[in-house]
Amino acid sequence: MSVEAVQDALAAEHAAVWTYGLVSAFIAVPQLSAAVADGATAHRARRDATERWLRDAGATPRPPAAAYLPPQPVDSAASAVAALIAVETDACVAWRGVLERTGDAALRTSALDALTVSAVRATRWRKVAGVTPTSIAFPGAGVG
C-alpha cells in the first residue's frame, strides 16, 4: 500500500521540520546554522510535495504531531546534532519504505531523491558529531 507508506514518509518529514526548528536555537556556528537552515527548507519543501502527492492520490495527508520526542533532550549543540542525525536517519527508513511499496516510476524517483538527500544530510551531521563511520553504507535499511 503505497499511500500508507507515503503517510509514514510524511510523518518523518513533519518530525524533521519540527526538529530542525527546535535545534536552530542551539547551533550558533554560522556555517552550521546555514546547514540547519538548508535542511529545514529542504524538509518543508519535501513535506509540501508529499502532502500534494497524497491529495492527488485521494488521501488526506495526516497532520503533524504537536511535538516530537528526540532520542535525547536537546539542550546543547551536541544533542541538537544528535537529534538531526536521528530525524534524517528516520527519513531514510521511511523513504526506502515507500520505494519498496510502489511500482510507480515517478513516485520511486522522488522517493529515491528524498532517501539520497536525507542520507547525505545524515552523513553531514555525523561528520559534525564525529560519529564513525561517517558514511552510511545502506541508508534506510534500518541498520548501520
Partner: protein, 136 residues
C-alpha cells in the same frame, strides 16, 4: 514417478531447441562497479569507502546469485569475485567521480527494478552519495 522425472528432460531436449541463455542480470554491473571502487579506495587509502563498497558488492552479488537460475547438478558458476586490480596510477581524485557514477548507475535502475530489489539498489545509490559527502 521416478521414471517420469528421469525421462521428461530427455524428451524435452529432443523436441525443443535449448532455451536461450538468461539475459544478464542488471545488478551484475553494480557488483562490478562496487568491486572496482573498493579496489580503488583501498589503493588510495580510503578504508571507509573501501569497506562500504565491499559490503555493497557482497549484498548485490548475493542477490544476483539468488536470482540466477541453476541447472540441477551443474556446478556453481564461479562468481567472478576476488580481487579487482585498481587501475594503474590510481589517485584519490578519481574516487569521488567513480562514486558519483556508481550513484547514478544504481539510481537509474530504481524506477524499473523488481519490488524486492528496489530497496537494496536505492540504498546502494544513496550510500554512494553518503560516501561522497563523507569524503568532502
Amino acid at each position: 514417478m521416478l521414471l517420469a522425472t528421469a525421462t521428461a528432460p530427455l524428451a524435452v531436449a529432443c523436441t525443443t531447441p535449448p532455451p536461450p541463455p538468461p539475459p544478464p542480470d542488471p545488478l551484475a554491473e553494480l557488483v562490478k562497479a562496487a568491486r572496482s571502487d573498493a579496489a580503488l579506495a583501498t589503493a588510495v587509502g580510503a578504508p571507509e569507502t573501501a569497506a562500504a563498497r565491499t559490503e555493497h558488492a557482497q549484498r548485490l552479488q548475493a542477490e544476483v546469485d539468488r536470482a540466477t537460475p541453476r541447472v540441477p547438478g551443474a556446478s556453481v558458476p564461479p562468481s567472478t569475485s576476488a580481487s579487482v586490480a585498481p587501475p594503474a596510477g590510481a589517485s584519490r581524485e578519481a574516487l569521488v567521480p567513480a562514486l558519483q557514477a556508481a550513484q547514478k548507475q544504481a539510481g537509474e535502475l530504481v524506477a524499473s527494478v523488481e519490488a524486492h530489489r528496489v530497496g537494496l539498489v536505492a540504498s546502494v545509490a544513496a550510500g554512494c552519495a553518503s560516501l561522497v559527502e563523507a569524503l568532502s
